[in-house]
Symmetry: C2
Subunit: 431 residues, 2 copies
Amino acid sequence: MEKLSDFIAFKSISADPKFESECTDCAIWLSDYLQGFGVKTELIPTPTGKPVVYGRIGSGDTKTLIYGHYDVQPPEPIELWKTDPFVLTEREGRVYGRGAQDNKGQLWYVIQAVKARADSLKEEVIFLIEGEEESGSVGLSQILSSIKGKIKADTLLVCDTGTIDERVGALTMGLRGICHLEVQIIGPSKDLHSGVHGGVAPNPSLALVKMLGTLHDENGRIGIPGFYDSVKEPLKEELALAEKFPITEAMYHGLTGVMPFGGEKGKSIALRRGFLPTIEINGLRSGHIDEGSKTIIPSTANAKLSIRLAYDQDPKETLELVTNFLKLQTPLGLTFKIIDSCAAGRALRVPISSPAVARAKNALIKSTGVEPLYIWEGASIPVLVSLTEVSGAVPVLVGFGLEEDSIHAPNESFKITQWDKGYKFALEFFG
Amino acid sequence: MEKLSDFIAFKSISADPKFESECTDCAIWLSDYLQGFGVKTELIPTPTGKPVVYGRIGSGDTKTLIYGHYDVQPPEPIELWKTDPFVLTEREGRVYGRGAQDNKGQLWYVIQAVKARADSLKEEVIFLIEGEEESGSVGLSQILSSIKGKIKADTLLVCDTGTIDERVGALTMGLRGICHLEVQIIGPSKDLHSGVHGGVAPNPSLALVKMLGTLHDENGRIGIPGFYDSVKEPLKEELALAEKFPITEAMYHGLTGVMPFGGEKGKSIALRRGFLPTIEINGLRSGHIDEGSKTIIPSTANAKLSIRLAYDQDPKETLELVTNFLKLQTPLGLTFKIIDSCAAGRALRVPISSPAVARAKNALIKSTGVEPLYIWEGASIPVLVSLTEVSGAVPVLVGFGLEEDSIHAPNESFKITQWDKGYKFALEFFG
């Protein structure tokens, strides 16, 4: 773990403009470090200011693109940290610090493995390490098509995920796509008295709940005609692997405080999370939201929605479908307004029979001693989907993080034995 | 309008505890004033501190109970007043001041008329003037049954309403009842990531909109079985009078910014406002309500509802019906919680053929020269309904306020010619 503490010392907080120069310094330092063992590097500027660290080493018939990020989440609240977040500190088998796991720590074992294999690489290894993952990968997304030629690869290796049990390695085989939508129903020019006007003025919040209430049918299935038309459900083999994910209803309740009874009735947790789309309300706001009663007909009613897309739904088409479905239900006299609408990205599905997956699986077995878990994840990482598309590579998402690492929170840490497993995995991967 | 300026000078703001002694001083002053022309008065204490001014004058076979209030709304924002809110100021045919209309000004013409008729009253006149109308009539409501014997009457005269056109007088013939309900749907113990948990964890806001979306059917009629069972729709004669209320869809849009397309389809504005119940959402709150997107499954979702009751719905039964209707739709895994629930009061319906109404109508014709309007109001004044029930009197609600009086707002005023009409009306009423 040589030099990781230097990497951690950079306050490369991408979300806070006052750390912009620390981000650049960190990129320069990282680029220099890679050069130190023979990587030909380049800092690629982005429109948002944080450069992308790009580098190449080795040669062969195939190429592996390594994606990672050198930026970190803000450390706040600082007072909850037991030691300085920017001083890597070892304690009881763990290293503590902001970025100790996400992503500096995990990236570090990949870099160390490539360094160890520098003279024996059987392929060309390309590094693409951005500085804005924690704030939406805006810069990288904007330059992606312009660097298309530089990132063409066969395999895309990303070590930025976790596993649920330290004895087992995990391969993330899918991510859902995502769209955002905020709608507003506009009624009277100001809040009206609910007695004088109740039953006369149309109520925007009544209209909103009525339309949102039709998004799902009685079985929790999305009720929008045509919504599932392009959904590709999993192969039997994929579903069987996904359902090996060891979670029971009781465990789920223990983790979240609710039973896993959301989504479509009669479908397994693995299917609902990894392979089916979902429309969730993220926020509702209308009228009087503070304590006590206020008898008004609100002037407006807002809802924020996120739509998680299954493979192979088109974000733009799906967003349009949902928007029109809601809009068409606007009662006479009220106005439907789109406050925000973003078709952020498609779902990712890693082909289970690809050589890249077999290569990762074998490396995982050598590193951990057991068959890995295959996880089809419900969350979305739009930049990885774009990167997969532009690079033409098969993505391999492997990580050794654990829930107790507290990434994005105070006292972020990485278990040293997990770091070692990661290093072994990467050594095998490039072996 | 002798002495009205002394009455206005009291800062009898019931909502603000620091004006408690001014409220008491005002009550004492008012009691003394009534005594001055022969009313036998008494200050009745209430548990909330503001005394009720009670008085009797005259004798006869019948009794008229006069209800009014000596408290006022706070004057804030003070800086928007052109003259001191507690100094009655005449300007362009109006008197300005807090309470100039609501209710000191309107009460004053009634008092002046009784004073003028003091020696020729054909009945006993009972004054009941409270000091908490602007803050929920809490004290009066609590003592009402204990003073039952003192307020038995044939007619209850309340001059605290308005008319829509100064050329016409108005009789308020009905008020809707009201219940309040705030419900909360409780899900995960904290907000969850909408990607990781979307389609797995049940979403409280999805459950909330689905249940609220069933409150009304496609025609805007309340969809709760049994909800309308005890609703007494108007007599043909009542509806015909109610529909004389001169408002067009275009006028309504001009006033509110929306067309009057709420409530049940195919029913007139007068029917929907005055005679039919309504369930309105007053507020919705769940999850992320600030700007931007935050992809969460909210831990909770809240809705505030007001139910306006038609004659002769029982508030408690109706509230239970609505609550159970919603509660029974709670999806497995989520919790339905009642945050606030109040069966505040029944609807009031004044019998159109009662002698009290005929007496008020005749007095209005003599005062204004034209037939009055009959208004079945959509709002609720629970204390008047209780007062009607306890006193056994037929309520007569007549007022000369106009929209431009800006009651509850800065620069409240009362048009002097309207005050004169009120005085003439009351003189005729007690003539």
